[in-house]
């Protein structure tokens, strides 16, 4: 699983302040009613606890530490500023610096390797990503389109602005159910179907070729609505590998275990989180 997918809100505590609600309290059982005043409706205060990863440590199957990534944020933890990868001797291997509209990759010596210029819309959806090498040569461009806040297309262009690929995201009742991958000429090349359980949890993601034959698939298992197991299957449905998620009480995956079909551990990721509170008001 991509690290970025671990990143954001996992649990929210919503505190509803409701001055008009009757409460069973000493004051509510007073025998003599108080003077009735006009009640002014106050906005609801919503406190959301946001968990964000601060470190991900990778271990080999035998438990030996391999490498780790440290994530640095601004003071209140709301903006990722830097991502640094270290080896098990604490020597920096690479780093990624995040600035407004720019993401830069540096090697171990601090030399720029490549960078991306990123354009976001008002809802912070990525609209455009231009990737450059360290000599400012444009390598590729990714363009995204959204409708009602949902991503509906992703196009990739090469450095000469020739279209390389189009991906279309299709929704049923606002739920992503199909992804089509098209050639530059607009012909279907492959597609994915996403199946959900009744409660809205993703159950399976099946990859088909243009002829509609299954290429591979992923299925998902949950415990108390938290994802605990992901099975990656071959076209004949046999398991190729597994990803096991161990979650904390808030559902944050604190340990991710990558295994082969025989349950041999290939890698174990341990993720540390910190949290911050976001306060918003709702009228």
């Amino acid at each position: 699983m991509k690290l970025s997918s671990l990143t954001f809100v996992l649990v929210a505590f919503i505190f509803l302040g409701c001055s008009t609600s009757p409460s069973i309290s000493e004051s509510s059982i007073d025998a003599v009613p108080a003077v009735v005043k006009e009640v002014k409706k106050e906005p609801k205060k919503i406190v959301t606890t946001v968990y964000y990863p601060v470190a991900v440590v990778s271990y080999f199957g035998d438990g030996v530490k391999d490498e780790y990534t440290v994530y640095s944020y601004n003071e209140d933890g709301s903006t990722l500023l830097k991502e640094e990868l270290f080896n098990n001797k604490d020597i920096l291997q690479q780093s990624i610096a995040y600035e407004t509209g720019k993401k830069s990759l540096y090697d171990a010596s601090g030399t720029l390797v490549s960078y991306e210029l990123i354009v976001l819309d008002a809802d912070k959806n990525v609209l455009n990503k231009e990737k450059y090498d360290n000599k400012d040569n444009l390598i590729s461009v990714s363009e995204y389109e959204y409708k009602n806040g949902m991503k509906i297309s992703w196009k990739i262009f090469n450095g000469s602005n020739s279209l390389l690929s189009t991906t279309l995201y299709k929704y049923t009742d606002d739920i992503l159910t199909r992804i089509d991958s098209l050639s530059p000429g607009g012909e279907m090349e492959e597609y994915f179907e996403l199946l959900y359980k009744n409660n809205g949890l993703l159950l399976e993601n099946v990859h088909y070729n243009v002829e509609g034959k299954v290429q591979d698939s992923r299925s998902f298992e949950y415990k108390d609505t938290f994802l605990v197991m992901e099975l990656i299957k071959r076209k004949n449905s046999s398991v190729l590998r597994k990803i096991m998620y161990l979650n904390d009480q808030y559902g944050n995956p604190v340990e991710t275990v990558f295994m082969d079909a025989g349950d041999n551990v290939q890698e174990r990721l341990i993720t540390d989180y910190e949290s911050r509170e976001e306060i918003t008001y709702e009228n």
């Binding site: 699983m1 991509k2 690290l3 997918s5 671990l6 990143t7 954001f8 809100v9 996992l10 649990v11 929210a12 505590f13 919503i14 505190f15 509803l16 302040g17 409701c18 609600s21 409460s23 000493e26 004051s27 080999f60 199957g61 030996v64 391999d66 490498e67 990759l105 490549s114 990737k131 090498d133 390598i139 590729s140 992703w154 990739i156 090469n158 450095g159 390389l164 690929s165 991906t167 991958s181 492959e190 994915f192 996403l194 809205g200 949890l201 993703l202 993601n205 990859h207 992923r218 998902f220 609505t225 938290f226 992901e230 990656i232 590998r241 808030y250 559902g251 990558f258 290939q266 890698e267």
Partner: protein
């Protein structure tokens, strides 16, 4: 009192979590397709940069595909710039396969190790073999390091060989196989420059791949004709996590080796002395006191009596070790030596005070009553200096405790 009820509702944003966990399946598929369609090296390299950025196991098949494609083309290109580009591109693939711990990629990575001569690329591939856990190539990797340890290559290849050797040490440490101990040991004592870090890294790796390397080190001690190697073997054993018993056994072997040979030059003399002194130190500080050690320590006492073979500081080390061996055999050997010293003293011959005092202190430290008679002789002797008699009195006091 106005009371406000604050309702606290916990909402698990499951859907958000699931959305975040949805695999980047289509992303992997798109980049894989684009890679397969790419023709030029620069196109492939650009797409590979995006593939590597995903850091996703779904990309392993296309990474392997790309690597396989490179095996044939690596050494066939004459143009230096193109070769460098290919090398960088191949390193990017190999490094990512290593980071993903993609064990299924091992055969492709091994092909690169075999096919290329360029040390940085070869080194990257070797390190990746370690990361993907390619134990099936452990024998080949051991041989590669062993051959480099011999330094049979041309002098101009030394820097290159050091780069490859360093990578091999890293990989062998990761693969953690007992069979790698010997090549790592010889790398730790090898020809490599200190700047290369090979020797230091190998010494460190030896400690991690085998807790108890006694068997391997005993073999090295027996097989090697070089005293500095025997000394390094004892030092490695001493620093290892082996039991005190095994450390003592190695020390006994080293002591015997140190006594067998006659040095043919000052360097050898120093090496042999260092070997014996370290062996004595290991025996002194260990909790296990093997009786076999007494045979060799007694041999040193006898050799000193007959030939004055050993320096005074070495003899002091010997007595310090003997003082920790409290068996009857040990104390008998020591009292015989003290009797010899007393005889000499009474014959009017000079005795080094440090030797005599160390000998007396050692007997006292054994707390074995067998030492009583000879210590009493010293205490009441008319020949010994008062300072020596005082040591004998103090030693006797220890025996009586």
């Amino acid at each position: 009192m106005k009371t406000r009820l604050i309702k606290i509702i916990t909402i698990i944003l499951v859907l958000f979590l699931v959305a975040a966990s949805v695999p980047a399946n289509e992303v992997s598929a798109v980049w894989t397709r684009l890679f397969r369609r790419a023709v030029s090296l620069s196109q492939k390299s650009n797409i590979m940069a995006s593939i590597v950025e995903q850091h996703n196991r779904d990309m392993v098949p296309v990474l392997m595909e790309a690597l396989e494609e490179q095996v044939g083309s690596l050494e066939n290109t004459g143009d230096v710039t193109v070769r460098m580009q290919i090398s960088e591109y191949t390193k990017m693939i190999i490094k990512e396969l290593g980071r993903l711990k993609a064990s299924e990629a091992a055969p492709y990575i091994w092909q690169i190790v075999q096919a290329v001569d360029e040390p940085f690329l070869k080194g990257e591939a070797i390190i990746a073999l370690g990361k993907v856990g390619a134990r099936q190539y452990i024998d080949e990797l051991n041989i590669l390091l062993r051959n480099l340890n011999f330094n049979l290559g041309a002098i101009q290849d030394q820097r290159k060989n050091e780069i490859v050797a360093f990578s091999l040490v890293i990989a062998l440490e990761r693969l953690k196989q007992p069979s790698s101990y010997s090549p790592l040991f010889f790398a730790s004592t090898g020809w490599y420059s200190s700047q290369s870090g090979v020797r230091a890294k190998a010494s460190e790796s030896m400690l991690t791949i085998l807790d108890d390397p006694t068997e391997q080190l005993m073999q090295v001690t027996k097989d090697s004709k070089e005293y500095d190697i025997k000394l390094a073997a004892l030092d490695a054993g001493y620093k290892s996590k082996a039991s005190d018993g095994n450390k003592a056994a190695l020390a006994v072997l080293s002591l015997s080796e140190g006594l067998q040979a006659s040095p043919i030059n000052p360097t050898e003399k120093t090496q042999l002395k260092s070997l014996r002194v370290l062996a004595l130190n290991v025996l002194e500080y260990g909790s296990v006191k093997p009786e076999e050690a007494i045979v060799y320590m007694n041999k040193m006492l006898i050799s000193y009596r007959t030939e004055r073979l050993f320096d005074i500081d070495e003899m002091i080390d010997l007595f310090e070790a003997l003082g920790t061996f409290s068996s009857d055999a040990s104390v008998k050997a020591q009292t015989e030596f003290l009797a010899y010293l007393t005889d000499r003293k009474e014959s009017g011959l000079s005795i080094d005070l440090r030797i005599s005092k160390s000998s007396i202190i050692a007997i006292g430290n054994t707390r074995n009553p067998i030492g009583f008679e000879e210590l009493t002789n010293v205490q009441y002797s008319d020949s010994w200096e008062n300072s020596v008699k005082r040591e004998a009195k103090a030693a006797l006091a220890k025996l009586n405790k």
